[in-house]
Point group: C2
Chain length 386, copies 2
């Protein structure tokens, strides 16, 4: 429209500025600014004139200029490690929802688990002057966030604990979740239960391992080293891990798999060998994903409130923006064991899964609610593993 269509410039056509509006309306830029800011100190005639001109010229205020002047940006940076793992987009979804409501804009950085990319994004976000940062730390090395120290903006970490960083943190009750998953299998008579876990260094993995150990310990079942495999949170990793388990002279009769992609891989491995679930191998996964119900048998899983995690993280950030000074908080959102059929339990109703337990918010551990379990008859598995 306003650009020379004949001889297109490389730069985008300069946009309408507040000055042009002011001139056209025959008022000062200050007045235009005031009208647009909704100041109470403007005459109604003035307001009309300005608004009309704004509409006529299709004026859009330049946020850059505004933010530069005011020294405040309503922009939040989000760094996530993996767009392939559906868990993270859901978290982002939650973040987005909260930010949108609060009028904040979201700048997304994808680290792909690469420390360097993460650093680059951090630098860019800093240059952009984002008001706050939601960080889902890279899975590899979770240290080296010294950069953040010299950078005085609120940060909230999600899902994984960045070492050496005192910030708000939102996670789900990984330990409890893993414990419940394991206990559930134990309650059904499984005695040889493997854990396919993520990288050793990652905090989620550590927590899930801890939960697994707790459950075994509580049931006085000795931990077998060979049954704990540290993989990489990805599908192929899960497949290989399960292969290794099945290659054991005395393979486990059940497995807890510590994330959704690895669970998929584990299932693959089991199918490839023609083994039946849960009769020959029982499975409890992590993350309740849309496909869980479409699998045969449907997948029992420890559900994490991904979206709520994101929303909570955003809210924490927004709060801290209002009142810095607060001490760092950690919010632990409850996981839920959703019992379907892959674990060898028969869900009472054909369709609806059984939901078991929940940790409570704000760092509390959840009490186990084993009493809520329907009294399943253990499958009494007979096979190599027993």
């Amino acid at each position: 429209m306003k650009s020379s269509d004949s001889q297109r410039a490389t730069r985008p056509a300069r946009a309408v500025t507040i000055t042009e509006v002011a001139t056209q309306a025959g008022v000062s830029t200050a007045s235009v600014s005031r009208v647009l800011a909704g100041s109470r100190f403007v005459g109604s005639r003035m307001r009309e004139r300005v608004l009309a001109t704004v509409a006529k010229l299709d004026y859009h205020p330049n946020r850059l200029a505004r933010d530069l002047r005011v020294g405040l940006r309503k922009v939040i940076g989000v760094i996530i490690p993996d767009l392939q793992n559906p868990f993270f987009p859901e978290v982002v979804h939650g973040v987005e929802a909260a930010l949108y409501t609060a009028g904040y804009t979201l700048v997304l950085g994808h680290s792909g688990g690469l420390a360097e990319r993460e650093r680059t994004h951090l630098a860019v976000l800093r240059g952009e002057g984002v008001a706050g940062l939601i960080l889902i730390p890279d899975s590899e090395r979770e240290a080296s966030y010294e950069t953040l120290h010299s950078w005085d903006i609120p940060v909230v970490a999600v899902d994984r604990t960045p070492s050496g960083l005192e910030v708000d943190l939102v996670t789900s009750s990984n330990r409890v979740g893993a414990r419940e998953a394991t206990s559930h299998l134990l309650a059904h008579g499984y005695k040889t239960i493997a854990l396919i876990n993520g990288q050793k260094g990652v905090s989620v993995a550590q927590e899930r391992l801890a939960g697994y150990q707790e459950a075994l310990h509580a049931a006085r079942v000795p931990l077998q080293e060979a049954f704990v495999i540290h993989s990489d949170f990805r599908q192929e990793g899960g497949r290989m891990a399960m292969c290794r388990l099945l290659d054991l002279p005395r393979p486990p009769r059940a497995a807890v798999v510590a994330n959704n992609l690895m669970a998929l891989g584990a299932l693959q491995a089991i199918h490839e060998r023609g083994l039946r679930i849960p009769d020959e191998v029982a499975i409890v996964g992590f993350d309740d994903m849309p496909w869980a119900t479409s699998l045969r048998p449907p997948l029992t899983a420890v559900a994490q409130p991904a979206e709520e995690i994101g929303r909570t993280a955003a809210q924490l950030l927004l709060e801290r923006l209002r009142s810095p000074g607060r001490l760092p908080r950690r919010v632990v959102l409850p996981t839920r064991l959703i019992i379907r059929a892959s674990c060898g339990a028969h869900a009472p109703t054909g369709v609806e899964p059984v939901v078991v337990s929940a940790a409570r918010k704000h760092g509390q551990t959840n009490k186990s609610v084993n009493s809520e379990y329907p009294a399943f008859k253990p499958p009494v598995p007979a096979g190599p593993g027993l």
Copy 2:
């Protein structure tokens, strides 16, 4: 560090500015700017001094100020309709990859299929002065992008055609994909094939319908109205659609399902009725998702190169940024029919799927490569539908 830790301000601590660096180094701001810009006209002593001071002060240039001054922003806006559907995050992943390489930053907006949200994001992005826009149009009403007309920046649409908008477009060969899926089923002897599709108004849905029709027509199989269901691209929609089909007096023996979430829903419905796949109902889905191989039977699907779609979109945008003026292009990326077992075909090797055909880039239609098919014996389904 530099903020008063005792009496935290609401605003973030003012960052180090170029002026401070200049003063500290005893040079002019212009020099600092030049050094940082990598100008050749700077003495080596100067450079050293500046660089040292920059490091000492931990100076990070303010991109806002820079961009305001220069009138150019290396920021691209991306608007996507649905973060729950794993297809879109993968597209974003591709976009991100390309943008990162080119040094661009990504601002993400989530419309959730809501026109108003989309408008809001558009306005914000405009205010942010993004250099370009990648738009995956809202599924509901794809019109009303008049806003974009008055806004003179390059836009590339992805996946769906925004009506009334002359912009670059990246899609996959939806028509061909749907045709191949349908033809494949026909080739295996299925004569009653349903299509579970997305909303009528959406361009992808239209294209997939067209492909479905083409295949039927080519095989001289009459189209049955009742077999074409327009759902909503979501899981529950797919489930209900499949339920409706199975409730038909003469239900179809096979179905093409036009996206991944709906396919999951359809499977659910089939399982709920205790029907066997593919013996009683054969299924070909859209989108080759990680879980396809973990389903039993593994899901035959029309794969879309989601990530490549995103990467291509970003590249198109970047190109146009360099040379506006160009005429709008549309790039059609090839789909691939990945044959597994849910369609009633037996993949030759136990594990590796058969990949059939591909449309070629840049708008060409792909030639069907039926010759590549191993000679499957049609399952000769005997049931109500035949």
